[in-house]
Symmetry: C2
């Protein structure tokens, strides 16, 4: 949650996964996570606190990471804020090489860990050089402004989405997941209509946005990442009633398919319209 | 189809309807059509040629327009190109005050009427001052470049949409209908990725884009109109394989809800990003 407390230069990377990543076949995204952690001999923690069935979540990733010969893997089950403030647990998380945040409900996750020792430990691990991955709710939780609820269906509708305070690894964005599969463009447009300060980032299932320590980004997996930039938008959203569809003129949309890479040495030049997005997401807390 | 043959100043208006317009309750869009034609005592023709069940189509609009006390209403059933070249029929269409083009299949419609006397008569009627309305297939048929087939589902995919030659009342746009209800953004983005010359116009069900003779536009009905402008886009579409998802950076998106009006005296100022769209669609053939 802390937006200012982590002034250390960040050395780790973020892997933001749109949910339903392959856990049984080629497991491209999970394999990449392990590689980003430094390989299968590194210490991997699986944070299950977003889920009401944490043992079931752990069983899934225990099997997947076990199949990749990750020997040092363990769950972090958190059932209360007191547990999230356990100093020994937090110290262990801060020393992990990789932390995987499972799906579930991002509001549950933040209610349990927001502002706790575990929250600090996650930031400390990222600053130290760990890779932090989050899928579905674990992806949405990564931004400072977190999509909490949203009902917009066919069209953007004023007053139908609400934000909360996320973990805050990334600033000035809001992250949605299962994006194309659950047709969530309307709710992401609703967020941007009311919060043009934030860039909307919609991540498809079995797809990840990798934010590298070195300042590059990459899209990997099966789908695409959609970026919605409303900073140039002309809109009447301030004047209309709740539940009305806002006028939104000049929204900038970027569709970044799997395989796209920007910002690192050897990449194709970043289009000018994307360079702001790159600056914003790579300047992670 | 003629893109250059109609140099007369246009005096009529176009009502481009996204399908499934209300035909039984308040019939807002159909009532507006009749008003644009000059009222219920005017001559209304219903062109059913897009449909394989023309009598059923006529029965629907016969009932709807009858309920509005339109006395001079008649169907134009076209089953062959020979019929579409019938001079007496064409002369009658050219003199109509309003022409309503039903749904069905826009490829069927153009295969029957493209380049015929009826095609010319439609342009002549518009130039003379008639209102031409089209719904669903009848909406898609209105542009010079017509969306013929498209399969893109979750994402834009190179090579999955095809265009044909439409009636050509409007240039430089491609029109899709049932837009939000059938989740057609991906296929409209596919069109724009491969044809950045064209602006994509997606019209929701029971929603219409009215292009007025005086150069204004209005959105009416239940939903919204989505405009996709790819002219500033950076894309790799030229280099990727068929069926691949293109990178698309800096696509401009405009969401125009029902009630929006631009370009006519008394309207709110047209946002600069929308003025090109306005110029393009109001410069109808």
């Amino acid at each position: 949650m802390s937006e200012t407390a982590h002034a250390d230069p960040r050395r780790g990377s973020l892997l933001i996964i749109g949910g339903s990543e392959d856990r049984e076949d080629d497991m491209q995204i999970l394999e990449r996570f392990i590689a980003l952690c430094g390989g299968p001999d590194k210490r991997i923690a699986v944070l299950t606190a977003a889920s009401r069935v944490p043992e079931r979540m752990w069983a899934i990733y225990d099997a997947a990471f076990g199949g990749m010969n990750v020997t040092s893997r363990k769950p972090v089950h958190i059932a209360s804020r007191a547990e999230a403030n356990d100093a020994a647990m937090a110290a262990e998380v801060a020393q992990a090489d990789g932390i995987f945040i499972t799906g579930g409900d991002q509001k549950r996750l933040l209610a349990l860990i927001g502002g706790t020792g575990l929250d600090e430990a996650l930031h400390a691990a990222l600053a130290r050089g760990a890779c932090i991955a989050g899928t579905s709710a674990g992806a949405s939780a990564m931004s400072a402004h977190m999509l909490a609820d949203g009902k917009a269906d066919l069209h953007p509708e004023k007053g139908t989405v609400s934000l909360g305070a996320g973990i805050g690894f990334v600033q000035r964005v809001v992250i949605d997941q299962h994006f194309s599969q659950r047709q969530r463009l309307a709710r992401l447009l609703t967020v941007v209509a009311q919060n043009p300060f934030l860039l909307g980032v919609g991540i498809d299932e079995d797809t990840a946005l990798l934010i590298e320590a070195g300042g590059g980004i990459e899209i990997l997996g099966a789908g695409a990442v959609t970026v919605i930039d409303g900073r140039h938008m002309v809109s009447n959203v301030a004047d209309i009633r709740n539940r009305s569809v806002p006028e939104m003129v000049d929204v900038r949309l970027h569709l970044l398919p799997s395989g796209s890479r920007y910002g690192a040495a050897g990449d194709t030049a970043t289009p000018a319209a994307l360079s702001d997005f790159l600056k914003i997401v790579t300047n992670i807390a």
